[in-house]
């Protein structure tokens, strides 16, 4: 079960960095003896540094030096350099990095067409090398933002490459969508151009909106600073916290938000890394949550956002966790799944939670949710025994729900505002390979997607004709 994350662009690498940090912390908490085990091997290689850091992998026994299985790509050096000078410097080696100096100027075309073409060979070579070290590659992860140039453009270029080179391996993408007040003016262009690629080449997309992350961070800060709580909040349990950090205020503005996304990825992969009574692998997520190829956008929510210090967890609090998972406040995009239509839903529980707890809560919540007619009991469930650090249990919910529609509609509106006036188009069209048709095709692809969601909402997925059963001659 191996996954290979690609962090592309500034946002992607910042989130990626948080992810590796938290993953190490999570494995350290469970793996007291320092043995290199199956769980670790899904994300890290074990290398003997005496042979120069790029030695053959050590498959058993004690941990020597852990190297993340990853590719870090950025067309500016700032973020990657920081990672290499920070506490994670030994986790990556130079052969996993692809960097340039001047950045993509927040221009999708520069990222996709210019750098894509320029770095194609380099990326493919590094990809093949990294994949060689994996026994059995199950899926690729791309972490990027949609609004800029590198993450958005080069990130989706990499997506295409992955499909060409390894068509059998699942492609999961975590995409950070810009908010309406994003200070990058051309972010709607970049996002819509990237959306077309996601529509056509991704198996599964987990959209995340900065606005939602921001709201969650504020909510947590209010809770922590308000002093209303009688018990203290466990610092390391904050879904926004950095490893080992004691401060509640983060140093950099996006750190807390990036931590949330990193936690999303940790929870998503937990069942593939740790044991449980009902495992849920990544390829199962794609299988169960994507009933039609293009409808592969999943709304995620993480609960709880923090844990209180008292250890005993009465049932009520457990049930509260399930209720919260469906509340609008906990979704990572601006959406309200409860008032839209579910095509499918997955619940991955971590910690000391049993199948009866899971069933009780599904029974309780089901009546208030609207499921499509051909999938009335469309629940996919997973139970992983190991909880996240600082928590006794946690829940990740992934929903294929028409509530993503507003996000896409708004994106299209912002795009059209610029496109009608042909604002900034020349920056794109001057890049080799870019034509106006790229834009019209991209917005057309987005419109088609929106239309599919509209149709579902209108029909509630109900059958046009009553599907009568096959008759057997007696």
């Amino acid at each position: 079960d191996l996954s290979l994350p690609f962090a592309v662009g500034q946002c992607g690498n910042q989130v990626g960095c948080r992810f590796w940090d938290l993953a190490l912390r999570e494995h350290a908490a469970v793996n007291k003896k320092g043995i290199y085990d199956e769980a670790l091997s899904s994300f890290f290689r074990n290398v003997d540094t005496r042979s120069g850091g790029d030695g053959p992998g050590i498959y058993k026994g004690k941990i020597c030096s852990l190297k993340a299985r990853a590719l870090l790509i950025d067309m500016e050096e700032g973020v990657v350099n920081e990672i290499l000078q920070g506490p994670l410097r030994d986790v990556f080696d130079s052969k996993q990095l692809i960097t340039d100096v001047s950045g993509s100027g927040n221009n999708w075309a520069v990222g996709h067409k210019l750098y894509g073409y320029q770095y194609q060979e380099n990326i493919v070579e590094k990809l093949r090398k990294t994949a060689e070290h994996c026994d059995c590659l199950q899926c690729f992860f791309i972490i990027h933002s949609m609004g800029g140039g590198t993450g958005s453009g080069l990130g989706t270029f990499v997506l295409n490459l992955l499909e060409d080179e390894f068509p059998e391996v699942y492609r999961f993408v975590t995409s950070v969508y810009p908010s309406g007040e994003d200070d990058v003016i051309t972010s709607p262009y970049n996002s819509v151009l990237a959306m077309k690629e996601l529509n056509e080449h991704a198996d599964c997309v987990l959209p995340v909106e900065n606005e939602s992350l921001f709201d969650i961070v504020n909510k947590i800060n209010q809770m922590v600073n308000s002093g209303k709580l009688l018990s203290t909040v466990k610092q390391n349990s904050l879904v926004t916290s950095s490893a080992g950090s004691v401060k509640t205020l983060q140093e950099k503005p996006f750190d807390a938000m990036n931590n949330i996304v990193a936690n999303l990825l940790l929870n998503l992969t937990s069942s593939a890394r740790f044991e449980g009574s009902l495992n849920m692998d990544l390829n199962e997520i794609s299988m169960n949550l994507v009933p039609f190829p293009r409808l592969h956008y999943l709304v995620s929510s993480l609960t709880p956002l923090y844990t209180l210090a008292d250890v005993n967890v009465p049932s009520r609090r457990l049930d509260q966790m399930f209720s919260d998972a469906f509340s609008r406040d906990h979704q990572l995009i601006q959406a309200d799944p409860k008032h839209s239509l579910y095509l499918a839903c997955a619940l991955l529980v971590r910690g000391n939670v049993q199948v009866s707890d899971l069933r009780r809560n599904i029974e309780r919540l089901k009546p208030s949710l609207h499921f499509v007619s051909w999938n009335q009991e469309g629940w996919k469930t997973g139970l992983c025994s190991v909880p996240p650090v600082g928590h006794s249990h946690s829940l990740l919910s992934l929903a294929n729900n028409t509530c993503v529609k507003p996000t896409f509609i708004e994106l299209k509106e912002r795009f059209m505002k610029l496109y009608k006036k042909k604002a900034h188009l020349h920056h794109y069209l001057q890049i080799d390979g870019m034509e106006q048709s790229c834009f019209s095709e991209a917005v057309s692809s987005l419109s088609d997607l929106i239309e599919e969601y509209n149709e579902l909402d209108a029909t509630k997925g109900g059958p046009r004709t009553d599907p009568s059963r096959l008759k057997i001659a007696v």
Partner: protein, 453 residues
């Protein structure tokens, strides 16, 4: 004769482990309520059937463990070894890394052919260790990708490689409110394929076992482990050594053969249901006593009224009076109150088994007319008590027990199929719409056959 167990997928391996654990714990228990000679005989028969011995004296399960990801097998092997009283052989497992993704097509069309040689190699080795091979039992769930898809493929391979051996599929049906969203598709594909290769299918439904845990065993926070332990107990009650009617003083040598012979007179009818009573929380066992007439009365009514457990039985349901037409219904929508049987096997274990009157189970109105009532009912009576229960009664039934659940699964799968949801996930690995239609047709035929009993 020995039975080789093939554990497939997470469910198959988790349950398989609980089964061997239950068997071992039963034979080492001191609650046999019989002479030490009888006890020794029981132990020896069980060991020969399910274990072989290595030099250290620790019994090794006659089992092949198969999974497409490593975590469960790894856990299963170490838990068994830790028990100290039995273990799995370290050479009897096959696993891969990437899993089947809950995709039946992936299990059947990709993993199956790819790993056929390695898996059948392991099976062959286990079969060769048996002095006399009595047949195979596979344990799998129908909901996922490995147990179901790869399990169906392996069953086919078993049939091809061992044409004369008995094959019983023990299948687990998932909770109705999803564990896996495509579970109904996987179930339809699995059952239709198993039907062609196996001699019989023995079914456990998670919803039923769960109810037993909550209402009878008083377990507050039911885990899969609890569910699996009940299933293991029920299987053990069937497969531990028994005396059959013709068997004489020795334990019957050919349990699978006997089972098939008594219960499956016609290849169109292979669905076997299992009921076992009583179920008591472990700490209440020493304080509970039951009477055989009471147990038999309950068991018979559970059969007639199609009850899932010994509580909440509908006592109003009665077999039709003699001389009237057998109740048949051509529409599956009509509620089937009375459960018609083709054949039944009652397995009694414990105190005073030989005095038990089973005449009520021979009532011809319970059965179709194909077999005489004497042939339709078989009884195995074993004085040696099972798993600390002073008296224990199991019913393996070829009847309409599973008709409603089967019809429900096929209905839901068909509903989803009509919208073509998820089909692209299967065609990606080579299972086409026609394959689905074939499977639906096979199962509608089975449903129709059981409906018109």
């Amino acid at each position: 004769m020995s039975i080789v167990t093939v554990q497939l997928g997470q469910c198959g391996n988790q349950i398989g482990h609980e089964v061997f654990h239950c068997l071992c714990s039963d034979i080492h228990g001191t609650h046999g309520l019989c002479s030490s000679k009888e006890n020794q005989s029981y132990q020896d028969a069980c060991k020969e059937r399910f274990f072989w011995e290595e030099e250290s004296g620790v019994p090794v399960a006659r089992a092949v463990l198969v999974d497409m990801e490593p975590k469960v097998i790894s856990q299963t092997l170490s838990m068994a070894a830790r028990s100290g009283c039995w273990k799995y052989s370290h050479q009897s497992h096959f696993c891969q890394k990437q899993g089947s993704g809950n995709n039946w097509a992936n299990g059947y069309s990709v993993h199956g052919p790819r790993h056929k040689e390695s898996i059948m190699d392991l099976v062959q080795k286990e079969a060769e260790k048996c002095d006399r091979l009595g047949g195979f039992v596979t344990i799998m769930s129908v909901a996922g990708g490995t147990g179901s898809g790869l399990g169906a493929f392996v069953t086919q391979c078993l049939r091809d490689a061992f044409p004369a051996s008995f094959i019983l599929n023990h299948v687990i049906w998932p909770y109705g409110t999803g564990e896996v969203i495509v579970q109904n598709y996987n179930c339809v594909l699995t059952l239709s394929h198993l039907y062609r290769s196996a001699d019989a299918l023995l079914v456990h439904e998670n919803d039923v076992t769960h109810k037993i845990c909550s209402q009878l065993m008083n377990i507050k926070h039911i885990s899969f482990r609890d569910v699996n332990q009940v299933i293991a107990h029920e299987l053990g009650s069937v497969f531990q050594p028994s005396h059959t009617a013709e068997g004489g003083p020795d334990y019957a040598r050919n349990p699978l053969g006997d089972l098939m012979e008594t219960l499956v007179p016609h290849p169109e009818f292979k669905m076997l249901g299992l009921r076992n009573i009583p179920h008591i929380p472990e700490n209440s066992l020493p304080y509970s006593t039951f009477s055989w007439p009471g147990l038999i009365r309950h068991l018979r009514q559970m059969l007639i009224a199609n009850a899932q457990m010994e509580e909440g039985i509908d006592w109003q349901v009665r077999p039709p009076p003699p001389g009237s037409c057998p109740p048949s219904s051509h529409s599956t929508k009509k509620p089937l109150h009375f459960n018609t049987s083709i054949a039944n096997l009652v397995i009694l274990r414990g105190k005073d088994v030989h005095s038990v009157d089973l005449g009520s189970f021979q009532d011809p109105s319970l059965y179709t007319s194909w077999l005489s009532p004497q042939d339709a009912l078989n009884a195995w009576r074993t004085p040696r008590a099972f798993n600390k229960y002073e008296k224990s009664a199991s019913l393996v039934s070829n009847s309409q027990f599973l008709l409603k659940p089967l019809d429900s699964v096929v209905g839901k799968a068909w509903n989803m199929f009509a919208s073509k949801a998820y089909i692209h996930q299967y065609t990606r690995f080579g299972i086409e719409e026609e394959d689905f239609l074939d499977s639906f047709t096979t199962l509608e035929q089975v449903i129709s056959s059981y409906t018109t009993l």
